[in-house]
């Protein structure tokens, strides 16, 4: 069934249409949110919040972009806000964690490329990370990313270029090997 028809039925108060809309888009939303959050509980929370907000604001959806893109923009906004809160609370705990971690890292414990890359992606600024995850990890096009983030496709490309450069820098010792 076409998205526009589903939206019309949801707005008319048809609960089965709401479920159909959810079924059609939940996998894509959940995947993106999980990639960004890296935690099942948080990914579930943010995905649920995305659909609750989307159902509440469905009347505002103009159909200028695809529904999936609109949902993606809500999901990213909720996820980034949620992760910022988590980051702030973690920063408060970091002093204690740092003191406990001193001396633990040994040459034998050096993580492999996947782990190092995961850490490097985590450390990217939000703007770079979103574009990198959407494009290189989840396979979104620059047009979809730009529409979701409300930026020009050129900006999305530039952000991706910088994100990759930053990752290359972080993993420089692997490049030499």
């Amino acid at each position: 069934m076409h998205d526009q028809e589903l939206i019309g039925r949801v707005l008319a108060g048809d609960p089965s249409a709401e479920r159909a809309l959810y079924d059609a888009h939940v996998d894509r939303v959940f995947r993106l949110v999980y990639r960004m959050a890296g935690d099942l509980d948080r990914a579930q929370d943010y995905t649920q919040e995305t659909f609750i907000r989307a159902f509440g604001r469905l009347g505002e959806f103009r159909g200028e972009a695809a529904l999936s893109t609109w949902l993606g923009s809500i999901a990213i906004s909720i996820t980034l806000n949620g992760l910022r809160k988590v980051k702030r609370s973690r920063e408060r705990e970091v002093v204690l964690d740092d003191s406990l971690a001193i001396g633990r890292i040994t040459p034998e414990a050096e993580p492999d490329l996947k782990d190092r890359l995961a850490q490097a992606i985590d450390d990217l600024p939000d703007g770079y990370r979103v574009v990198f995850v959407m494009h290189d990890v989840e396979g979104y096009t620059h047009e979809e990313i730009a529409s979701s983030l409300g930026v020009h496709p050129g900006t999305s490309k530039a952000q991706l270029f910088r994100a990759r450069a930053r990752l290359r820098e972080s993993l420089a010792d692997f490049v030499k090997e």
Partner: protein, 214 residues
Amino acid sequence: MLDDRFDDQMRDSAREYNTPPPTPKEEMWAAIQAKKTEESRTVITPLRPLRHLRPLRWPAAIAALLALGIGLGRLSAPPPAPVAPVRVASDTLPRTSDVAYRVATTEHLGQSEAFLTLFRASVRRGGNEQLASATARQLLATNRLLLDSPAASDARTRLLLQDLELVLAEIAQLSPRPSSPDLDLITEGLERGGVMSRLRTAVPSGASTTQGVL
């Protein structure tokens, strides 16, 4: 060349970044429905207390109507004619506030007299004057209030209050263990200015004086 190979390797590895598990569709759907139900309840809740006010609707409406009628009546009524002030005989009678000040002054002077009598007797016996200092401070505060009030409009009373202030201030400033010369100076001052005799004259006999001092 090396960079291109590394980029390919990096992209391959990136696909495993935070690999998502199968989507917990049903679990999330149930949570969404529960939250929606909860939110819809929250929206209705504030309306409930209004139901309790239903029995008051008619009385409230009548009261509002009456208030409106009275307001309109006052607005539309002609302005009242100016009324000439009526002179009453109160000018010739002492005002209530004057009487109150006189009573307060008499009471204060009586308390001061009682205090100073006891103080002088205590000094003669060589007693402890620590308590005297605290009492003098209380009396001094009242004395200053009376000096700033209409009670001091009478010249004789003002003069007495001023002399009394000096004596009370000296006692209030006494150290915990005052020396004999200090105490002698105060008692001499009491005698010299005739403060005690003037106090006795100012206080009518039979007035309750010691209450509140001791």
